[in-house]
């Protein structure tokens, strides 16, 4: 049985006076997807997300969420969605806890203390929840922004640039949280980010938008070459290493004194062992961001 579509966008258009920002966008998000929403600056990505979240009205086209038209079922649909669009602007004069409590009341029912604490733990804000938000760092605001999107246990979560303002540890924490939301809590996550390697690590499906139109939509692994991985290997004797690697894959070359190759994921460890066995010192094996290459080739 096929997966159930939870968000279907068809022929979506948006014009601002003479400028057409979105020119007939179509894409589908299925239940349980972690869906990457990509595009360069000014591609129409934010405008599309704003239409999907009912912040702006479309000029033409159809948005169906949970099988229902958004235009005529707005409140019902929004009650099942958690949304963080652009930067997380919250009430600075309230504490993080009060922000969540107050905002949850707008969902129809104020969240219980237990639920608020649970969400605070999920985003890693425990211990700071009673501080006023105006004292929060950008990273903490980002975490609280994600928390407010999760507070009412929505089925679809839309996160626009969730890693913005986070330090490297914060980026890892949020990545793990998003993966957990998808795998453990079976949520559908729509993720817009300019950190392409982050999207590559998290998303199973994606759409790339450029100049107001969909350039490509599909399964991330299929689009990026499936089971192979592109890596660079820094080692002591590149010429000798090239010959050994060529026995495993034809797609190998030397660039800047490093071996650059694309091989099946399961062969990486075997190749490294083989190089070491041939007295070649392997200093580093670094995966190349395939999505970045792919993105640049399309946009």
């Amino acid at each position: 049985m096929g997966k159930t579509p939870v968000l279907e966008v068809r022929g979506l258009r948006k014009s601002f006076q003479d400028f057409e920002a979105v020119k007939g966008v179509d894409f589908t998000v299925y239940e349980g997807d972690i869906f990457g929403f990509l595009g360069p600056n000014g591609a129409g990505k934010s405008t599309t997300l704003r239409m999907v979240t009912s912040l702006i009205n479309s000029t033409a086209g159809d948005i169906r969420i949970f099988g229902l038209p958004l235009s005529s079922n707005r409140e019902h649909i929004l009650s099942r969605m958690g949304i963080l669009v652009e930067k997380p602007d919250l009430y600075g004069f309230l504490s993080g806890y009060d922000n969540l409590s107050m905002l949850s009341s707008l969902n129809g029912k104020r969240a219980s203390r237990q639920r608020i604490e649970e969400v605070i733990h999920m985003v890693g804000l425990q211990g700071r929840e009673q501080d006023k938000v105006r004292k929060y760092s950008q990273g903490m605001r980002q975490r609280l922004g994600i928390a407010q999107a999760l507070i009412h246990d929505p089925e679809i979560i839309i996160l626009d640039e969730p890693s913005n303002g986070l330090d490297p540890q914060g980026i890892v924490d949020i990545r793990e949280l998003i993966i957990r939301l998808g795998r453990e809590f079976k949520k559908t996550v729509i993720l817009s980010s300019h950190l392409l390697n982050e999207v590559e690590m998290m998303a199973n499906r994606m759409v790339i938008i450029n100049k107001g139109q969909v350039t490509v939509e599909g399964d991330v692994q299929e689009l990026l070459g499936g089971s192979t991985i592109k890596v660079t290997i820094s080692c002591s004797h590149p010429e000798q290493a090239l010959k050994i690697a060529a026995e495993t894959t034809p797609d190998v070359r030397i660039a800047d004194g490093q071996l650059v190759l694309e091989i099946p994921k399961e062969s990486v460890a075997k190749l490294v062992s083989k190089l070491v066995a041939n007295q070649i010192e392997v200093q580093a094996v670094v995966p190349v961001r395939k999505l970045e290459d792919y993105f640049i080739s399309l946009t």
Partner: protein
């Protein structure tokens, strides 16, 4: 009720909300003390032409007269204090980015506007109530009670027992007038992305309308009945005898109609508005 509480909580968490209360807390005692010190001269001056024909007895300088004078200042500074808060309700949230949080919640835009509108009306009522209580209580404490003399086209003398209800009714009417101002700035707020614009625009409209009303030209006389500011001064009708009930109801109705129109425009605009901030 939860949502209204949230809105009121937000309003009363902002320092600008207290500017109105602080201004009244300073201005009312200032006027009362000034009247207490120099009020007799003020009364002598006001009645100088009448003293030849009438004999005035009793304590004319009292808390009721002070409240009447304070009531007359309502239209000078209170609209600004009200616009400061009601003009910020939608535009301020747009400027700070929190409007996105509200609009993406499962609550209709119409309901959101109505809740914010109710909060604006509650704030206005609190401010006018504070002004009424401050002027009456403080005035009575400092100068006691007494008869009230009002000089308009004719001289009205209201006995002590006949004044309090008139003052309270006039403050009540003043509240309706200030609700109209709050609705106007709230409407402007729905068009703006920062709160400065709605505040300035509200004051510009009120001052322009008052100026138009004050200049006695035939062109302006035609426009005057259509300006809501014309009806804002009808609180004075409570200090006439017999009471011009028809005119009071007409003024209340016109102001009420303006409130309704301003609210309707706000709802229609906000429902269509693209939240781009």
């Amino acid at each position: 009720m939860n949502l209204l509480r949230f809105e009121l909580f937000k309003i009363f968490c902002k320092p600008r909300t207290y500017i109105g209360f602080a201004a009244i807390a300073v201005l009312v005692p200032l006027i009362q003390i000034a009247l207490y010190i120099d009020g007799q001269t003020y009364i002598e001056f006001s009645l100088q032409n009448l003293k030849e024909a009438f004999d005035f007895q009793g304590e004319l300088l009292n808390g009721y007269l002070a409240s009447y004078i304070i009531l007359a200042t309502l239209y000078v500074h209170i609209p600004f204090l009200i616009a400061l808060v009601s003009g910020d309700l939608l535009a301020g949230e747009a400027a700070s980015g929190t409007l996105r949080l509200l609009v993406t919640r499962p609550i209709s835009r119409t309901r959101l506007v109505l809740i914010k509108f109710a909060a604006a009306m509650t704030y206005t009522a609190a401010l006018i109530l504070f002004m009424a209580l401050a002027s009456l209580i403080l005035g009575i404490l400092i100068m006691g009670t007494g008869d009230l003399i009002v000089i308009r086209n004719t001289i009205y003398v209201f006995s002590e027992s006949d004044v309090l209800w008139r003052l309270l009714s006039a403050f009540g009417f003043g509240l309706v007038a200030m609700w109209c101002v709050a609705s106007l700035s709230f409407m402007f707020s729905s068009f703006a992305s920062n709160s400065i614009g709605p505040i300035i625009l509200t004051m510009t409209v009120i001052i322009s309308f008052i100026v138009i009303s004050a200049i006695d030209l035939s062109v302006f006389r035609v426009i005057k009945p259509f300006l809501f500011t014309t009806y804002m001064g009808s609180w004075k009708l409570f200090f006439e005898e017999p009471l011009a009930l028809r005119d009071i109801w007409l003024s209340t109705g016109v102001l009420g109609l303006h409130i309704l129109v301003f609210l309707t425009v706000t709802i229609i605009n906000f429902k269509r508005k693209d939240i781009l901030s």
